[in-house]
Symmetry: D2
Subunit: 342 residues, 4 copies
């Protein structure tokens, strides 16, 4: 029997991607769609790629219209999810694709977001140690940030296996959809095409504490993360190039073994054959993760690289995967590991 | 009961797209994959986005390895399909994504391809008048060219309704995957990014006679087509801007009515609401077609514009749709009308 | 002795390109820069590519700050140039990169812009018949629109030589900078990358009457133009694919001869060798125009294609070229015919 | 009096860029152009953006045709420069844009290139400590690699000032022109557009020892470099994100001061104002370098980021700049700090 799902914030990129995936989910029936500034408009004018929903009209995001659904996906600006979730009651599965409930340490939240901490929900990254168990039967899910998804999957096996020193350096390139649909001059096509540029340099990006949280948990000690995000001239995709000093005694073989073990039974993570490297095009539109790892002996560093689609595995795909676990559906239901390439 | 499908030419773009779609088809089991120059290699090294088939090894394209399948998709260089089809026998459904069997007039074939004509197979564009009937139960399908798919769908309603003069002017922009995967200097990323350029100008493109064939059939008279293809800096998609002089008495209303009638029951063609125009991103990776039409009163011309994904509806999606009809499956089975956007 | 030039609207794309070119002009000294909403900001924050002007502060656009210059370039929203020009007095050379003074027929202006017509200035397309003479010594220049520049240069030789019927069909692809720097959702990188889409279809684009004006003048009769602009996933460049029915007796040779004659002495227009076709990358950042022409005998049409950089030859380069003529400088001074490719 | 310059390897990207710059150089007259596989062809067919040289015919690369020039630019596959240079005699200025003479340590060369070391020439990165002096009057110049240019300029000030520990981590994104013009499947536009991917991971990229050489010289101790290059969907540009552990006592102020001092008199390096970050679009086609630096206190790392055009400052612009110094011309002659943006 299908569950009925509402999407709050259906006019943005995260909401649109959630709908794209939910339309293909055999156990989901799409309920109310909301979008504040676009309330009253047809979805076909805002998300013309979602052909089957072209005539759906967006409602305003109120507790009343969201009531009566089994699942509610929230794609709202940060700070708005708590109030909505509270009104929905404890029996509704609320899947928050925003940041509000990802961080465990209120001090982290306050430092990076400048507002009171709303709480912590089970974290929607099943591939982490203990990740699935935390989601089973849960009625609240905090979907990870796109960068933390890519970075945590690239590096946690090295930390979990005790192979890496507690200082990671991460440079990640993201497609522009990660910056959202609100029009700003620096996100214009004229500005981004043909250009690479960094932002949030020096430790200021809000996804940094989330990476630290995940990697520290895997390592059993506090890991520092130097994180530099860059904007790449492509609509989708994250390529995360991560490294950490190798602990003494690490070899290419022990490293490979740790990654093989970590991902042996993972349906969405593909540890590439040796010599092949991730490419974001290969996971375009899919929930798959490509990972590869190398040991740079001369520099003494472990290099782990992952590619995800920031909107799919990095946001809405991770949300649906987590929903599947929470509701007891097969984890892969409605999700694909096949990229749209070239 | 599933049918077993082989793909000959699995390392190229058309073959890869066929596999992407067949993997999602509930009634198809993927059989042998072949690729001549890449025979012996794993598909994962050649088509890394097709994760579930990563360990499949390509065979050489021989009648022996293709035998024993219910369906064989051919993605071969032109001129090679006839020999393969002959060996497969009359009971195997052969779906040719190449050009060999598209043209009815041997003179057209010889003029544009410079070799003897192999014959004519039922034409895989079900949306054309009489298109479905020709495919039902057929064991041979000639999949249309990508440009003719886009152009014929944009213009045939005007011709079928007797609204357009028999001279069409078409300028179409195609993503680079339409030019194939064989590496050539002018197809390098360095050359195509940031650049638009035409090719095959002046009536020389091989898809021209196919457009003329389709539009003339709809019009009931010989239609001339001035066709200029252009290469656009994107991997996928065709935007076809087509026009023809309006016959006397044409109005915006009569034009709209003709298009509404032509596409009323079409599952894959979406005539956009007035004021909205096609975009290739909206149909990226999907089998949908976006169409819009306008009457330019000052110039006296009908402007009809379509957007397709050249690899999906323009090649492998059209192939699967036609296969569904030929085998008696629901026409939409395994195909999506949802684009991967942004 | 250098002339002193001000640029009003220096924070936008046209103003920025004017500055890029004027910085390289040996007879120009850059004076005041203005920008209304950005007044008070440093140019380095708005146009970081104009390194030598990084510390310049934008003034508000007032007659006072613009006074005292030999030349004033206007890159203002349409409807604002007349008031500014009036205040500058008749001895200042005013080069308007906006639309206000391009059209001769007030009815055209009112139909397409919906406001009273401000007048007509000498038209800055020296390559047109009589074009240079109109600019020599002039103190007012109306810089053509980017599309009309590309289209007029592609087609006027055929009309001037009496080879083409009076109905032209134009489909042009433009880089996104043609749509300006004001942020709008459909111009986001996420939306335009990987996508082609038309706009202003059916005769509504404001550059249409300007094309008709130019081609009709060349033809000596009223030419209709069916014009469809499309947005291409690149920051710069226009590829204009233009065609018209050939008059009786036209041959490939007579056509080629007409184009060779028209461009024989043109420093910026490069009629390509036969068999080679324009590409926007080849003229990226340059004032050059690539043109090629073909006769499609089967369709009975002349196909003329041009490539320009919409910001250079299509806007600020055309402006500087016209300024050179008006001030008696060598026409090519400070301008390049070398594109930045790949 | 102008010098006469030949370019060997004029059909590739480095050779084409050298010609683009030399055409704009007031003291250079362009002599013979060579290109082995393309000998006999017109340059207009191979480099259509170099309009003024369209009718030049490529010669074969022989000592005879290169004789009689004041300067010879070599854009040859590695391993071929020594033989050519030897024949040219000691009075000709030979500027090698290939790798052959960059490395000082023969062991480095042999390890990374697998052939005998040809020697070491004065290194064409004038901004390095002592860099200019080494070039003055020299008749041989080894132009740096594109990545080492970007990385060395980003990091040497921190090392020269004793602020950084001797382990650097570099992740750089390059436009595809860095991979050259020889057509390979993974460089097709269809493959690179919309995709980011790494290559040469784990210390294997040939530019690594060159970075180590430069940074170690600045630091006065052996610096390790973990270098990961990535291919970005753009034709030009390198964004180098570099970091190193900060030594004790480093502050944001001391870091900024070191960079201000290092670049105070540099005509091509622009240390951006605080809060502004490099973008490759800003230096497109120019010889400028944008640099910014930050201190990530939480991670204890210095983050230095640079943007260059890989073909200009990263190859041919650096070559011309070094030629200017060697010949006693003003260093900036014929070179621009203005990018072509957007």
């Amino acid at each position: 029997m299908a569950v009925r799902a509402a999407v709050a914030g259906a006019s943005g990129y995260a909401g649109g991607e959630a709908l794209r995936l939910l339309l293909a989910h055999p156990e989901v029936e799409i309920g109310v769609l909301t979008g504040n500034s676009n309330a009253g408009q047809k979805l076909g004018a805002l998300q013309p790629h979602l052909l089957p929903l072209a005539d759906r009209v967006l409602a305003e995001t109120t507790p009343e219209v969201l009531a009566g659904h089994d699942v509610v996906f929230l794609a709202l600006p940060h700070g708005q999810s708590a109030a909505v979730a509270e009104q929905l009651g404890p029996d509704v599965l609320v899947v928050d694709m925003g940041a509000d409930f990802r961080l465990k340490d209120p001090a982290d939240w306050e430092k990076f977001y400048g507002s009171p901490h709303a709480g912590t929900w089970p974290y929607g990254l099943p591939e982490l140690p203990g990740g699935r168990a935390a989601l089973e039967g849960s009625k609240r899910i905090a979907v990870p940030g796109c960068y933390p998804t890519a970075v945590s999957l690239a590096l946690f096996p090295a930390y979990a296996a005790g192979l890496a020193e507690a200082e990671a350096v991460v440079v990640a390139a993201s497609g522009t959809s990660g910056a959202g649909k609100a029009p700003k001059p620096h996100l214009l096509g004229s500005e981004v095409m043909g250009s690479m540029s960094p932002y949030g340099v020096g430790g200021g990006h809000r996804h940094t504490p989330e990476m630290i949280q995940n990697l520290s948990a895997a390592a059993g000690e506090r890991v520092t993360v130097s994180f530099t995000p860059t904007l790449a001239p492509m609509p989708r995709g994250i390529l995360a190039t991560c490294s950490a000093s190798a602990k003494e005694g690490v070899t290419a073989e022990s490293l490979r073994a740790a990654y093989e073990k970590a991902f042996a039974d993972e349906p969405f993570v593909h540890l590439l054959p040796e010599g092949q490297w991730p490419a974001t095009a290969s996971v375009h539109g899919s929930n798959a993760v490509q990972v590869q790892v190398a040991y740079d002996e001369a520099a003494g560093r472990i290099i782990a690289i992952s590619a995800i689609d920031n909107l799919t595995k990095g946001t809405a795909g991770g949300a649906v995967q987590s929903m599947n676990i929470a509701l007891g559906f097969p984890e892969e239901l409605g999700l694909s590991t096949i990229g749209v390439a070239p």
